[in-house]
Symmetry: C2
Subunit: 126 residues, 2 copies
């Protein structure tokens, strides 16, 4: 299950897709340890570039991502995880998907309503 | 339509998803120029890290990606393109999706048949 972590300084991009609906929920990064933890635990675990440490998705909110299937691409330098999300949304801004803005006439427009109140879930981390 | 290209040395990851089926087809990278060309032309254009130049997807194969919708995430550091793929597959290995291998018992297993013969499409570049 070797992946090529060398192209991106020890990381691979990880696309997170809802197993049931097909919606792309977020994109994170994994280092080798995060990937191994993801496989071993069955919960998506990332490497936080801003905090420089492993990050179990949902560790604060409880909104973990249950891994149903993991794929890799032709170059072994990115992964696709199809998941069952626990909770109403994956985005720390309160949306179902982090991709909640679409491009319209050169502007990013919020194209959906919030699924939860991030202040209630994350408290001061909002 | 500002994006944050600073976190990854001038690039953002671009997830490519089939507009009709929802399948994730590939992950590429865009620099600012590639993103602008994508928006202007309506065809997905990437920055090739191996060749260090812009890369119009389908320039060799004819299998261009017609952009139907572009989204960005909460941090403005990745994009999601929902596309209509022209041609049977996006992968230079001949598969519909670059994510043609799934993890089974610790091994990457090819989980689908080729959609086209890459030797016929790419010739010696195969």
């Amino acid at each position: 299950m070797n992946l090529d972590f060398g192209k991106l300084g020890g990381l691979v991009p990880a696309v997170i897709q809802d197993y049931a609906t097909g919606r792309v929920l977020m994109l994170g990064f994994m280092n080798e340890e995060a990937f191994r933890k993801t496989v071993e635990t069955g919960f998506a675990t990332f490497y936080s570039r801003s905090r420089s440490k492993l990050w179990l998705k949902g560790e604060t909110s409880g909104h973990r991502l249950v891994v149903k299937e993991i794929s890799t691409d032709c170059d072994l330098d990115s992964v696709l995880l199809r998941v069952e999300p626990l909770g109403p949304g994956v985005c720390h801004e309160g949306y179902q998907s982090c991709f909640y803005r679409t491009l319209k006439n050169g502007e990013w427009i919020v194209s959906e309503n919030r699924a939860f109140d991030p202040g209630q879930i994350y408290g001061s981390r909002k």
